[in-house]
Structures are given as structure tokens and as C-alpha cells.
Subunit: 122 residues, 2 copies
């Protein structure tokens, strides 16, 4: 089980790739451009580094490469969450949960979904 710790920029890229399933540098760059100003080669370089780190895998396709994430979104979310629980909430997941529920006005539907989910955890 791989343990990842993406930087902020890497996470932005992962989010695009997770959304799309797979993507070229150009695909990713076009999305990132809408969020913040940045050069194409910046995105390229980051994705090359992520490939070297093993965060992404890639496959040649004509002149370019098609990248995929080597870890599922849920798996990565779980790891990042665990790190936050450990480092910020002294290891208490329930503390984190209550903070999250308290600060963000969730809709009644969302709260219901959580209640349902709690039932399945018995």
C-alpha cells in the first residue's frame, strides 16, 4: 500500500485526472488555466515529477502521453484524512467529524445521509 503526500499543486492535478479518468498534459492544463494563471510547461514539469514519484502512470499515445493516477481518489482521501486526524485532531476521528458538522451548514439531506450511514456502522 503506497503512501502518498501530494503537494498542493499536485493535488490540483490529481483532481483533474480523477475527474476525467485519464488526461494528457494539455487536458490538465486547460482545466488548471481556468482556475489560475500558469504556463503549459509548468503543468508538464509537475506531471513529469509526479510520474517520477509514482503518483501518475503514463502511456505514449502518438506524440503525447496519457496519464492516469496510480491511486484511487477514495484511497488518497482516506490517507489525507488520516493524516489530518493524527496531526490536527490528536487522533480522534469523531472530533474531526463534529467539527466538520458544526462549521458547515450541511443540508438536511446530507445530515440524513450521515444518519443512515451511522446505522450501517453498528
Amino acid at each position: 500500500m503506497k503512501n502518498i503526500k501530494p503537494t498542493e499543486s499536485e493535488l490540483e492535478i490529481l483532481n483533474v485526472i480523477w475527474d476525467k479518468g485519464q488526461a494528457t498534459v494539455r487536458d490538465v492544463h486547460e482545466v488548471l488555466e481556468t482556475q489560475k494563471q500558469s504556463g503549459y510547461t509548468t503543468t508538464l514539469k509537475l506531471m513529469q515529477i509526479m510520474y517520477e514519484k509514482g503518483l501518475l502512470e503514463r502511456e505514449a499515445s502518438g506524440k503525447s502521453h496519457v496519464y492516469k493516477a496510480t491511486i484511487e481518489r477514495e484511497e488518497a482521501q482516506g490517507q489525507m484524512l488520516q493524516r489530518m486526524i493524527d496531526n490536527v485532531f490528536s487522533g480522534s476521528a469523531s472530533q474531526l467529524v463534529m467539527q466538520a458538522l458544526g462549521h458547515h451548514k450541511s443540508t438536511p439531506d446530507e445530515l440524513d445521509a450521515i444518519r443512515e450511514y451511522l446505522k450501517t456502522l453498528e
Copy 2:
């Protein structure tokens, strides 16, 4: 409302100070030493930087300084949580909550506490 983004090392220091209420460099260093090997002046330098950034305030006490956090633990937790919700869970707090509940076997007591808490959110 100040918006903080402590680095990993800064967070370790903040945790000690939040636990103690206030602390000197030596106090902090003694705790950190039990967690990882590091030099006294490293801790000192970090706390000086945190002071410059406004993360800590300090007061001379004899030859040394007594430091306090300029932000409450809960406030900081809330901000870090919000950032994670935005960057990792596409803005969905309930997604984060369910991930947290699913991955970490909370005790029945904790789950009860969360259920109670949900009731108060109606």
C-alpha cells in the same frame, strides 16, 4: 479573521503550545525531542519565524520569552478542515464525514456522541 496555514513543523509546535496554553522555546523543545530528534536552535528559529508570521505572540520573561498561539486550536482546526473539504472533497463536508466514519473504527461511544450531536443540528 486571520487565515493561517501552518507548515507541518509549525503545527507540531502549535500543538504543544495549545496543550500547554503557553510555553517557552525550551518547553516546546523538550516535548518535540520526545517525538523526533532535533536541535534546540531549530525549534527556536521556527518559533521566531512563527512570531514574525503572527502565528505566535510572545512576552519577555527574564532572559527568555513565553509564547502563546494567536489563534485558538478550534479556529485553526476549522480552517484546516475547510481547506481539506475544498481541496480534497470538492467542497462536500458530508463526503468528508462519511469517509472519516468509514475508515476509522470509532468506538460505540464516539458514534453515540456524533448521533447526539446530529440531533442538536436540526
